[in-house]
Amino acid sequence: MFRLLPRIVHNVVQGPVTRNFPEEARPAFELARGLITFEMDTCKFCGACALKCPADAIVVDRAAKTLTFEPFKCVSCAACIEACRFDCVQMDCEYRSPAEVKPVEVYKQAPVEPKPEEESKAS
């Protein structure tokens, strides 16, 4: 026990190393993996992201021009980002928030007329 005494004294003097979460939250690291979002302006609905996703979290319907994404299946591996040739997929450094019901996000592309992009969420 006495061998740990210098360590114990050091810890008492230094104070706690734990953070008082959630009052004090550490900002996420820049390169950390997190929530995936889609930018639909340039999406061509080629389905490359859906093909490469190992968790089958993305379903692309080319005819209906919709992209369905289930964030709770996603493992934030970024395979979709590497697969997309049109830079439609982004990954945030914050992880997805917890939810009481698993959401299913349906992304639609805006029509050709210049309107603000529509995005509907169905749970």
Partner: protein, 359 residues
């Protein structure tokens, strides 16, 4: 007349990181017989590998085990690169080695903490895991995740490590060395720790070799075997020599892993010092056809991957032989005749990873 009781150890037990059942037949205070039962964490990963294409399988294979995940991905990628004749650029190989050694550090620190908890020394357990948090932060800063770091893909490394991150890793290694120095002598010299570990689970080098033990469990008995000696992934450039102890008991396994921590820190420093410039990956072309066997050194021992490909993007077979699978006969041997109170420590001392074993 023998006084026999059958006691189930597990599948849930505070010392076990994953579920394992041992049916222990007690003869007085000693174990006369034991019957291990596996299968609590079986997820069918080898079968699932046949359903996805060979590049998606990297993400699947990483999740065989949380503690040695990047080594599984590395072995799989090496097997596929051998089949497809891909030459990974040197910088990509160095990044893979860097993260393999960082992963080894986190695994050994985790085990040391669990061992301390197994004999009830919870403060030491918390100290080791607090030290380990520095490694988890480094992995999250550079590779993106704390546990499943996803740095290997077929063809090379997925992410580059910038100069700032390299400097941060070196600073973390310096701090880690200082922190380990503070707690090392407790593991090695403390009276209560020695009472619970010295002489427990003793095995000789010959028996360990005959039972097929691999990894730190074999090396702590004096068997000089380490898959890194084969020189995969440029390990021969770092002058790698395995860390060997000769005691063969739990205390020796503890010392051996502390030695491996120091060795990993040394390798990480060499890798960063000699990191070459250049590309980190090559793009695989076409589909794999053929088969390959690859052996790498996971934190728990030698990990073997057999990959068979049939010319399509789906693989024919992925067979994973994990180090704990090879160490189970050794564990059964150690526990025969052991005292009942020593069972948790001896079972934990081989560093069992059941999610690896049952895939």
């Amino acid at each position: 007349m023998a006084n026999e009781t059958v006691v189930p150890f597990g599948p849930q037990h505070p010392v076990l990181p994953e579920p394992l059942q041992l049916k222990l037949t007690l003869d007085g205070p000693n174990i006369s017989q034991l019957l291990p039962a596996f299968g609590y964490v079986h997820r069918g990963i080898e079968k699932a590998c046949e359903r996805q294409d060979y590049q998606q399988n990297v993400y699947l294979v990483e999740r065989v085990c949380g503690i040695c995940s990047s080594i599984h991905a590395l072995a799989y990628c090496l097997a596929l690169e051998e089949i497809m004749n891909l030459e990974v650029p040197k910088r990509g190989t160095y990044i893979r080695v860097l993260f393999s050694e960082i992963h080894r550090l986190h695994s050994h620190l985790l085990w040391l903490g669990l061992l301390a908890e197994a004999f009830g020394f919870e403060s030491l357990f918390m100290q080791m895991w607090r030290i380990r948090e520095a490694i988890m932060d480094i992995m999250e800063k550079t590779a993106g995740n704390r546990v499943i770091i996803s740095v290997s893909e077929v063809g090379g490394a997925r992410r580059d490590v910038s100069k700032e991150h390299q400097a941060e890793i070196l600073a973390a290694m310096d701090k880690l060395e200082a922190d380990i120095k503070g707690v090392r002598s407790t593991f090695l010299n403390d009276y209560t720790v020695k009472r619970r570990t010295v002489g427990k689970g003793q095995i000789s080098a010959e028996t360990a070799y005959e039972l097929g033990a691999v990894g730190p469990d074999a090396r702590s008995s004096g068997v000089a075997q380490d898959a890194r000696m084969t020189g995969y992934c440029c390990y021969d450039e770092f002058g790698f020599e395995p860390v060997i102890e000769h005691g063969g008991d739990t205390h020796s396994r503890c010392i051996q892993r502390l030695g491996e921590i120091a060795q990993s820190i040394d390798i990480i420093r060499k890798v960063i010092d000699r990191m070459p410039e250049g590309e980190i990956k090559v793009k695989p072309k076409g589909f794999p056809k053929g088969s390959a066997i690859v052996r790498v050194e996971a934190p728990r021992g030698e990990l073997l991957y057999l990959v068979e490909a049939n010319g399509t993007k789906f693989l024919e077979r992925v067979r994973i032989r994990v180090p704990t699978f090879a160490n189970v006969p050794m564990m059964v041997h150690l526990l025969q005749g052991c005292e009942f109170t020593d069972v948790p420590i001896v079972a934990l001392s081989i560093d069992p990873c059941l999610s690896c074993t049952e895939r």
